[in-house]
Amino acid sequence: MWETHCKPGAKMTDSKYFTTTKKGEIFELKAELNSDKKEKKKEAVKKVIASMTVGKDVSALFPDVVNCMQTDNLELKKLVYLYLMNYAKSQPDMAIMAVNTFVKDCEDPNPLIRALAVRTMGCIRVDKITEYLCEPLRKCLKDEDPYVRKTAAVCVAKLHDINAQLVEDQGFLDTLKDLISDSNPMVVANAVAALSEIAESHPSSNLLDLNPQSINKLLTALNECTEWGQIFILDCLANYMPKDDREAQSICERVTPRLSHANSAVVLSAVKVLMKFMEMLSKDLDYYGTLLKKLAPPLVTLLSAEPELQYVALRNINLIVQKRPEILKHEMKVFFVKYNDPIYVKLEKLDIMIRLASQANIAQVLAELKEYATEVDVDFVRKAVRAIGRCAIKVEQSAERCVSTLLDLIQTKVNYVVQEAIVVIKDIFRKYPNKYESVIATLCENLDSLDEPEARAAMIWIVGEYAERIDNADELLESFLEGFHDESTQVQLQLLTAIVKLFLKKPTETQELVQQVLSLATQDSDNPDLRDRGYIYWRLLSTDPVAAKEVVLAEKPLISEETDLIEPTLLDELICYIGTLASVYHKPPSAFVEGSRGIVHKSLPPRTGSSESAESPDAAPSGAPPSEQPAVIPTQGDLLGDLLNLDLGPPVSGPPVATSSVQLGAVDLLGGGLDSLLRSDVGGSPAMGGTSFTAPSAVMPANLGPPPSGGLGDLFDLTGGVGTLSGSHVAPKTVWLPAMKAKGLEISGTFSRQVGAISMDLLLTNKALQVMSDFAIQFNRNSFGLAPAAPLQIHAPLAPNQTVEISLPLNTVGSVMKMDPLNNLQVAVKNNIDVFYFSTLYPLHILFVEDGKMERQMFLATWKDIPNENEAQFQIKDCPLSADAVSSKLQGSNIFTVAKRNVEGQDMLYQSLKLTNGIWVLAELRIQPGSPSFTDLELSLKCRAPEVSQYVYQAYETILKN
């Protein structure tokens, strides 16, 4: 037990407070707290605090501790405050007892006590107390002592957290805004910090309304406040949007010295500001080059800090390297791995090494990677082996060395090394076909040691793909077939495809095998993906082996160099979040931060002052030529979809229409599920099980009936993306010309597009008493050159009360004049009575042409090319459709899905469409699948002629809502 009187010279430590755990402890403490002796009291409070620290419940002592509060001993006061903050919540009534002392302390002549009181009061999260806090807080915010003011600024944030309404009602937010102009930099920094925190929970409020004057104040304070204050100010600056490149440059100049700060968080926040504002600077500027040079050293220096700091720095460097590879291109060596780096640092370094790999440094990189492949840590070794494969794909000149390195590694027979090597060799085959197949024999030797699905699938793919060169391919595949049901889906799908390939190459010997696998897949499997694929192959093989060959053995598109680049839009957003958690997770904060109530998406500022200004949207694209743009292909997770897509890839030769021999019965058998399955495949994503059967197949409007070539024809249409037979969405007819305005002639109509032909469907009603005849129609010049392709043919005169329905074919070769709104069409109709004029708005999607599907690579390149200021964002509200349904609906109207990805639970559709006048519009559609509460779609449109975006959006909305 604890001794009350310390003998002089005895070792005084606090560990004695931990020795008391017995029952009567609380009782004893109570007695000591009420002791007359100051020293005894203090020791008792210390003991209470110590118990509290280790999580013991000492709340029963509340009244006794609060009694000690009225003291002139600062230490005792602080200790009591500590206790209060911890327990006031559970004892709100008792806490009231402390209010008077607080209020009194807020008037104390000693600023330390004033600040302490207001600070502690803010920490007591009890409503009754906060009411009493307002007056003292107001005084403290205007206190003569800056120490008190800066403490009070933080207190506003605390109070806001407890009771936001109160803070607003009391006008504290305005006072806080005034503090941004305070003469003391520390007060400024704390005000900024408090406002930022409040703004985070109120994204819409315009709390940090930054203008050039306030920016100037912040920049001045930046030089003089503490390191932590600098972080707050820099983060705040990063949200500012300079009005032009000159302002951006001047801010950059004043922020650059922060790059030499010893605190790494200051450095990274400064990097964020610079990376963001750099976007506005012209690349021709000397200053741009200088800035690039200045960014490299501080980033490298971060790597010599503690491992935890290194990790965060590396995650951010990963983003920076993708956005601006030129900054660190000469710094490869600092990313070389040391054997005693923590594993999380090793993996990140490896990733960046691959990103920086180029022809110039590839020899060094490969030597390093080979070294790593013999290390002890399994995860790291695997990643190193994979990295060798990525090098081969990225730097063509190194492919041969990479392959031989991989073969050396396979010779080691270390199980996981072999498996990784096989997975990457498969990718190398796809990048450089017919070049390294001589190594297949070596690979086959290791067949038995493969036990991971990915490696097995890769090996099976290789065997199937090169079946004609492997003598015993059938035996090899048969050996896998034995345990078919125990394999993972990935392997099963791959095995199915490989055996079909084998059959098409060597039909005579393998008939039995293919029948076996098809029946396993279609009859004995519960997996809809597998079953569907099995059925497709089965039908193909049984109806038209030639077509089957064209489909299954189609030439594959080459794999592209980078497999895991972050999408450009996401990357730009993440650059705005450098140094934050978002940058560590490589996800926008909206995707993971709890309680982020509608976080505002940040975006990089548009570049100004250079030749690619906004005035000429059709001007030459900025940046590198499209051929240099790395393309994104699905990562490992999407492997399955990728392969599926490949197998069904666009036939290269031979007209797909040759499938007319297909029985219509086949269509029935395949059913709607197939349609939607195929549609989702177009996006190169895994067609997920259940959905392919449950999703409604709204492929073709019912009135059109099945096209003559049936299901398979449809299949080719979809994958080929040409000659879709279905028509686009048709709105119901509306009255364009009321009878009373046109002497009894009523015209209602709508526009439609079917099989590439635009028509204006009109309904003419004679509501007059006389017969109408001699009809003619003419269009005024319009934005897209719409004109009647044939005269309006109404053969018989229109008797009173008679209605005639007519479809007027249109073309787009008429004269062009820009209208406002863009889709306005002015029409003149003449009959025997008079000439009538009316105008109508046509939906833009009648102008979407059938060959509006862009190649993936092209899409990416174009997306990057189109300047950011041409991007328009829209929201489509209340559209509870799944990605597949959306995609198929849109495709009906010639909006084509180029790719589909799933990013943090959201489906992203990348779509393209082309207008009759050749304008391409690219779209990114964000869908929250499966959440009934988030039915809004987010649509970003990019187009060289941004003025059409608005109308494309309207078209989207019309199509999706009908």
Binding site: V54, K150, H261, V312, F592
Partner: protein
């Protein structure tokens, strides 16, 4: 901002918790323990862990995990920097940052944490200011306090808190005015099998110990400032002056602090002071291997290389090692499989050598990986980059201070692959 802090020892006990906002239950640490278990090695626990409602950002220092809980988007580097600052402060106050020291001084720890962070915002982290607010424990003071009943808490507002030089106390007085600068350079290098340098750079710092009265304004200039192109400064340094004149001009904090840290990376400037000849090989199917390592001086500018220690993490299959050394002594830890060879000073006339037999577990396959050699050494009175202080001038005060500069070069992460 930072919500809570938990201190956890290596055996997984939470021995201290501090909450700056509402109380977060200890159970949040379960996610940390899970990650710790997965990482196997304490050093491999990822520093940022996400849980359903919080984020845990942790550092590992002196066998203690400092785990902070955060709830909103916050710069992780800010949190990590702050946690290191907490650990530094404990070190500064208690002489060591250990579980015992923290438990022995739990109330001071609590007071410090309260003073360092308010509502998650850093308040006072400069040691000068903290020491004015809360006096560090000394045996003498606690004795005096217990007799007189006085407190170890400052009663006045720390002077540095709000001035433009928050790092310095106002009334500093010394009888002996001294300013010492230690130029310490560490060589980080990776040397490959054949002895050529894969990567090398110098991490340098200038640590200062300044005990000068009043408000001295110092300028430190170098013979060859061009070496310093990648530098991080203490906030006291005037950046403009450095940009224009390459002179370090500053009003120093009182006591010990790091003035600058710098990096010299251009390959030709990094001299490698030692070389290693090594044969480490394992025979196929014989469960034994050969070990033969010699170390010698190279490019050491005529100075002696001393304090040389070679550490080797041998493969798991190694049972024990029978070696003889011509100089120094060696130990092999059969549990961790670490060979440590403490050599001491290298004399060029007789190069230290360690050789002998490595015994493997019988039946174990020949180890695939080749162990790397980790080398430590020291060279006194030499900054390997060639950096030299030219002069130190003082303005603002009248007395003549005693000035001193010391140079030392050490091995940082110096690895030789075999």
């Amino acid at each position: 901002m930072i919500h809570s802090l938990f201190l956890i020892n290596c055996s997984g006990d939470i021995f201290l918790e501090k909450h700056w906002k509402s109380v977060v239950s200890q159970s949040v640490c379960d996610y940390f323990f899970e990650a710790q278990e997965k990482a196997a090695d304490v050093e491999n626990v990822p520093p940022v862990i996400s849980t359903p409602h919080h984020y845990l950002i942790s550092i590992y220092r002196e066998k203690i995990f400092f785990v902070s809980v955060i709830q909103t988007e916050v710069p992780p580097l800010f949190v990590i920097e702050f946690l290191h600052r907490v650990a530094d402060t404990f070190q500064d106050y208690f002489g060591e940052c250990s579980e015992t020291a923290i438990k022995d001084n739990v109330v001071i720890v609590y007071e410090l944490l309260e003073e360092m962070l308010d509502n998650g915002f850093p308040l006072a982290t400069e040691s000068n200011i903290l020491k004015e607010l809360i006096k560090p424990p000394t045996i003498l003071r606690s004795v005096v306090n217990s007799i007189t009943g006085s407190s170890n808490m400052g009663e006045t507002l720390p002077t540095g808190q709000l001035s433009n030089i928050p790092w310095r106390r106002a009334v500093v007085k010394y009888t002996n005015n001294e300013a010492y600068f230690d130029v310490i350079e560490e060589i980080d290098a990776i040397i490959d099998k054949s002895g050529s340098t894969v990567f090398a750079e110098i991490q340098g710092v200038i640590d200062s110990c300044i005990k000068l009265s009043g408000m001295p304004d110092l300028s430190l200039s170098f013979m060859n400032p061009r070496l310093l192109d990648d530098v991080s400064f203490h906030p006291c340094i005037r950046f403009k002056r450095w940009e224009s004149e390459r002179v370090l001009s500053f009003i120093p904090p009182d006591g010990n602090f790091r003035l600058i840290s710098y990096r010299v990376s251009s390959q030709n400037l990094v001299a490698i002071p030692v070389y290693v000849k090594h044969i480490i090989s394992f025979k196929e199917n014989s469960s034994s291997g050969r070990f033969d390592v010699t170390i010698g001086p190279k490019q050491n500018m005529g100075k002696t290389v001393e304090g040389v220690i070679v550490t080797v993490h041998m493969p798991k299959a190694v049972l024990n090692m029978n070696l003889t050394s011509t100089q120094g002594s060696y130990t092999f830890d059969p549990v961790l499989k670490v060979l440590t060879w403490d050599i001491g000073k290298i004399t060029p006339q007789k190069l230290p050598n360690l050789k002998g037999i490595v015994n493997l577990q019988s039946g174990a396959p020949k180890p695939e990986e080749n162990p790397s050699l980790n080398i430590q050494f020291k060279i006194q009175q030499l900054a390997i980059s060639g950096l030299k202080v030219n002069r130190l001038d003082m303005l603002g005060e009248k007395y003549k201070p005693f000035k001193g500069v010391k140079y030392i070069t050490k091995a940082g992460k110096f690895q030789v692959r075999t």
